[in-house]
């Protein structure tokens, strides 16, 4: 009798799991997010070569400080990250050891913008001149919105200049065909400068 009771309990449990799974499937389009953001991208990239070709500057650096500002209109916040350049992969070599300001729309605390760079982290960044006027002209955007962000994972800080250093894609985008991981030696594409 006890054996039968155990069997029935197990069967009921299985039935409940099946029903719960079926219910979840009917609402599979939903996500339980607290915030989000979306960009209607100008271009999706199929290769690191394309991304590199669209980038005036490719650097490895660490985010030293950040500032949130609404410097274009009163309702649009931008995060300005000061990147201390450790290595120039492609572009103006004089940036090595210098600081570059990288602009991104949104800010981290908003949590609607998870692609905002993290202070203290080391990144391989594909950058495009901001195209803005005045003092903002000196700043850069990440090429392809967030496509050009690769983060250092597991690299020793001392080998950031080493071509074996690897970087992981920070914000994969549906429909884009960029590699999930890039070695520094491959970062500039087949016609790289390094």
């Amino acid at each position: 009798m006890f054996h039968t009771f155990k069997s029935q309990s197990l069967v009921i449990a299985i039935g409940v799991v099946i029903l719960a799974t079926a219910t979840a499937c009917t609402t599979s389009g939903d996500e339980l997010g607290d915030a989000g953001s979306s960009m209607s991208r100008v271009r999706l990239y199929d290769s690191i070569e394309e991304l590199a070709a669209d980038s005036a500057l490719i650097v490895v650096g660490t985010v030293e400080s950040q500032l949130v500002t609404a410097d274009i209109d009163p309702i649009t916040d931008f995060t300005l990250s000061t990147l201390q350049v450790m290595a120039v992969v492609s572009g103006d070599r004089s940036f090595e050891g210098q600081a570059v300001t990288v602009r991104q729309v949104g800010f981290k605390e908003e949590s609607a913008s998870p692609e905002i760079l993290d202070k203290g982290e080391i990144y391989l960044l594909y950058l495009t001149p901001s195209g803005l006027d005045g003092e903002l002209a000196e700043q850069y955007y990440v090429t392809g919105a967030n496509a050009g962000i690769y983060i250092s994972v597991g690299n020793d800080k001392g080998v950031m200049n080493d071509e074996r250093a690897t970087f992981v894609q920070y914000s994969p985008q549906e429909g884009e065909s960029l590699p999930s991981e890039v070695r520094l030696s491959e970062a500039a594409g087949s016609s790289g400068e390094r």
Partner: protein
């Protein structure tokens, strides 16, 4: 109870256990569960839209468009009217601060995006949303319906729609430029169904 009667009941119970093994019992229950669920699953339409998991508590919403100007203002007005005419939401535009949904257009520079939207929500209820069109990539001289399409896309996000992989839908993930090139300038049935499922 006489001993003979007790023995016959015990034999019957043992015989039943021999026929209905746990494995067979599980299989039977799973089969019954699937049989019950099959019509439900079959009747559930394949959603050709996706949602963000956030939606406003009401479909009657105001958008602060103080920072929208020129053709961008005209096209946002048209996009709002298009949503009202084709879905169950009731949107209005205002030149005063207050609404938690704001819109703007400006030259934001070489951001890599022509349109941007963001939102925050709590337990699935949208608290606020912002959307921007970037004049670095799209200008007053671009076709009216091209600009309106970007608004339709960003408004879709603010209302709770996520990207889809079909390049013939307003909410296509690959960019509104492709959608416009494909001849789509109005909300499609899938886009409308998505909004009406939310509101």
């Amino acid at each position: 109870m006489p001993i003979q009667r007790a023995n016959s009941l015990r034999h019957a119970d043992q015989g039943l256990r021999a026929i209905v093994t746990p494995a067979r019992f599980f299989a039977a229950v799973i089969a019954v569960s699937l049989a019950v669920l099959a019509p439900v699953l079959a009747s559930a339409p394949a959603a050709a839209y996706a949602t963000t998991g956030c939606k406003w508590s009401t479909g009657s919403l105001r958008i602060d468009y103080r920072y929208v100007n020129g053709t961008f203002r005209d096209t946002l007005t048209s996009a709002k009217t298009h949503y009202n005419a084709n879905t169950d939401v009731n949107l209005s535009l205002t030149d005063s601060s207050g609404p938690a949904w704001t819109a703007a257009n400006s030259n934001y520079g070489a951001t890599g995006w022509v349109g941007h939207s963001s939102w925050t929500c709590l337990f699935g209820n949208t608290l606020n949303s912002q959307m921007q069109l970037n004049q670095y990539y799209i200008s007053n001289t671009d076709p009216y319906y091209r600009i309106r399409l970007v608004w339709l896309h960003e408004m879709g996000h603010s209302l709770g729609l996520a990207h889809v992989s079909n390049a013939y839908r307003v909410m296509y993930s690959g960019g509104t430029g492709t959608v416009y090139s494909n001849g789509i300038t109005t909300l499609t049935t899938d886009d409308k169904n998505g909004i009406n499922a939310l509101y």
